[in-house]
Symmetry: C2
Subunit: 368 residues, 2 copies
């Protein structure tokens, strides 16, 4: 079989073997470090891919919206954490799900707790979102006064069951290398342990949940942490590769795009594949701010090659992409050929593409 | 009625009156300048919005993919230009559409012409794509030798009917102000007229089609141009506003997003609404590279306010956005409220959102 004959338009290839191997590796780490494993499904958003996790023994998951929670609940997932501060405008969905599955939500304000108490019929598990340095959401880990304040409200609530503290070290993505990820991660683990120590006497069963692919991919130091929630590791991408979270051959998705034009005067190859396929995520390729929208691979009958030097995806408009390359690479390709691109951020690319094609030519659907 | 009670999740509001007024204004310009009007439907991608154009007399359109051409052909549009170099891997779709509607495609290489000739059963109209300075696709306007070469192949073809030259002045988006757009546009019009003059004796009926929202929004100088193909003008957005293509009150779409957290220590408001809703398009807000992912408006019962000063959408992750603001604005909003955001690039935002909510609370579907 030659996978290329199935590809007419920009297509997101998924290497099932690599993906399953990535899941197995993370499961091994969780076992080795005595961690509960709650993978984040916002990366793949697919009930079919979810089954690959289930077959390996996974039975609890994180998602990034209530809509996604509904989708996976409909697909028989019964323990779901919605890893976003709860949206007060979707209380009906919270209540419905809380009556059906083991639903865990995040709170970080007194208003949220009051609303939940007033509007829910069903009980729901609540984590307090903790800010470990990313400064996107959550209460600062050392702000024990505010945390105690929220806990007092939760204790008084008849609807909320306090579950523990949940953090996402998004600042690990801003690290310049693996060493810096280790440094940030060490501090996060230390801060969360101190926090746990403060509240353990009041809540002996409190759990600490931590999630980000970079630290979960390279660290074995999770003392005091109960659960990890990485997501991107199932596919990885160029961003993770550059961070040092994965090897190049662990990247489990690649875009295959038709070449629609070539311009020899400037060694540019134009592909059918733009911002509506890749998203406009980029990496800075040098100090002059050159943007890298993806790295090149050859599409072979049964998968894709290692990254090709001599060219890169240099710009994207709505449906077109421009590859800048050297003459040798330029001359290898002709109009009508396919070229492969490893995406910068696989979560965003998958979200736009809406489905996968495995190397066995099976189409895998996503939530829509 | 209060539109806000219908909004639970990030929602793309569409002000139908503003949109129709934008269409009427562009139609007026086309009439005034004696131009055929072929709006680009990649912005809205909706059969329902398309009917607003049809009611105003529009009967020919441009699209950015064959898939989009199929969608609009299924919705009774019978004269469609696919404004991308033809994809040789979709010859079956080209042939099918060419047998059904008046299909116009773009060619810019001999290979494409040979493939079309060999693989099509039906006749198709072909434009040669001309590069007027954007340097994305097309043959340089002054490269009459290459153009003659392609024309010789087209003349010899039994499947291709030469229609004319088609250009997209994408470089107008890189202009620093309206004056620079006028300057670029003047040169484009001049170059296309010279080109037309060279080939008019061979092809007395050749047409020149030009399309980009900035120039079509501000210029009345289209001497020698036969057709315009702007798209974004139906909605406009912050990018067009900053370029000077539109007034702020002509922007016909706004995102309405629930507030899910507030952080008083840093005057940040967290919204439910991220890269999977807005796209990651941004404008540079200052010389230090501060990124603007959207401008703030209040969501009112019947629409939205003018842009609010004192804050902006400063960062986006997958499902969250962070608004940085001053204390006064910070204090106006509470968790659970809606806040409005004028998008940077409405085409990308609409593509991600997949549907619109009108101010009359009607849901409008898009191609999926």
């Amino acid at each position: 079989m030659d996978i290329r004959i199935h590809i007419k338009q920009p297509t997101l290839l998924l290497d099932k073997k690599k993906c399953i191997s990535n899941i197995e590796n993370m499961l091994d780490r969780a076992k080795r470090c005595n961690l509960s494993f709650r993978p984040h499904f916002k990366t793949h958003q697919s009930a079919e891919v979810a089954e690959w996790f289930r077959e390996l023994g996974v039975n609890k998951i994180a998602v990034s919206s209530l809509k996604m929670a509904q989708y996976f609940a409909d697909n028989k997932w019964e323990d779901i954490t919605v890893a976003m501060p709860v949206n007060l405008r979707e209380m009906d969905i919270v209540d419905e799900l809380a009556g059906k599955i083991k639903l865990n939500i995040l709170v970080e304000s007194a208003e949220s707790i009051h609303h939940l108490e007033a509007e829910l019929n069903n009980k729901v598990n609540a984590y307090i979102k903790i800010d470990t340095g990313y400064h996107r959401t959550g209460i600062a880990a050392d702000d024990t006064k505010s945390i105690q304040n929220l806990l007092d409200y939760i204790k008084a609530s008849t609807r909320l069951e306090f579950k523990g503290f949940l953090a996402h070290s998004g600042h690990n993505y801003k690290a310049s290398d693996a060493e810096e990820i280790h440094k940030y991660h060490k501090k996060t683990v230390l801060d969360l342990n101190e926090l746990k120590d403060v509240f353990r006497s009041q809540f002996p069963d409190l759990e600490v949940s931590l999630g980000d692919t970079p630290a979960c991919s390279i660290s074995d130091e999770f003392f005091g942490i109960d659960e990890i929630r990485p997501g991107n590791f199932a596919f990885y991408d160029m961003m993770q590769f550059v961070l040092g979270s994965c090897e190049e051959n662990e990247i489990a998705v690649a875009m295959a795009c038709p070449i629609i034009a070539k311009h020899a005067d400037r060694n540019e190859i134009v592909i059918y594949g733009g911002g509506v396929h890749f998203s406009k995520e980029y990496l800075e390729a040098d100090d002059e701010g050159t943007k890298l929208f993806g790295s090149l691979v050859d599409i072979n009958p049964d998968g894709w090659s290692p990254i090709r030097g001599g060219g890169f995806l240099a710009s994207l408009s709505q449906e077109h992409g421009i590859i800048k390359c050297n003459e040798a690479l330029f001359n290898e390709y002709k109009v009508g050929d396919l070229i492969g691109i490893l995406p910068i951020h696989s979560c965003m690319t998958a979200n736009l593409m809406g489905s996968y094609l495995t190397l066995e030519a099976e189409t895998i659907k996503m939530m829509r």
